[in-house]
Symmetry: C2
Subunit: 137 residues, 2 copies
């Protein structure tokens, strides 16, 4: 499914800016920050505003097109892969790795409730020192 189709399916009009942000998210599985996306798209769309990037990402998150990762307390990161998975955050280099989710998978078909709360998002992450940083010691 193309980025355009994905947006149309969610009832989001596929403007040049929105397509560029979604394309970036789908083709760069690096969990970028809003700023990184903005800087990367500046060449392609010279008039791009940072506010547009923030607005677009919020729109995506609200419509289930992207995930907002609030692991790093400094920056929010975004993920174009909305399937159920966990993350590993390296305290030394700040890199975010994809990891398998460990735990009961919530039923995707209908919304799950837990202790009376309606669960809309499930997040799991680990923190520590990554493989790559450990090798440097």
């Amino acid at each position: 499914m193309t980025a355009r189709e994905k947006l149309l399916e969610c009832g989001i009009s596929p403007s040049v800016q929105r397509l560029a942000v979604l394309d970036y998210l789908l083709n760069h599985r690096t969990h970028p920050t809003a700023d990184e996306i903005y800087l990367a798209l500046c060449d392609e769309i010279p008039t791009l505003s940072k506010t547009t990037v923030y607005n677009t990402l919020k729109l995506f998150v609200d419509n289930g097109v992207a995930l907002m990762l609030t692991i790093n307390e400094r920056n929010v990161h975004f993920d174009g892969d909305v399937s159920l998975h966990a993350h590993f955050y390296c305290k030394r280099c700040g890199h975010l790795y994809d990891m398998p989710y460990s735990g009961k998978h919530p039923s995707k078909s209908r919304m799950q409730t837990m202790e009376g709360h309606t669960v809309e998002e499930v997040h799991q992450y680990y923190k520590g020192i990554c493989r790559s940083c450990l090798q440097e010691d």
Copy 2:
């Protein structure tokens, strides 16, 4: 175990300010923010500085005395309960609920590694609308 003993055990000198912050965390299981802690302790310790609260919380987190919860992208919350558990964050009222952890429990005795990464912290949280907010609809 008293707050004082807990600090001594971790090699943290139990100053008035540190004891007050830890006491607050242990007696208020509300996952407070640094600002909430600061405001609550201002009466008790009139000379208290916000910087001290931040320094103290960072010290606690680095020594495993408290957890830093980065669920809400605006504010960091802190938890004096460092046992393995999950959280539920209500998107409407912002309340944080304790929840049981679902998934493989990491071995607490020795440090766990996952795909070569050294895991020091395990986090799990849910987002949605809480029981209390649902009743108001």
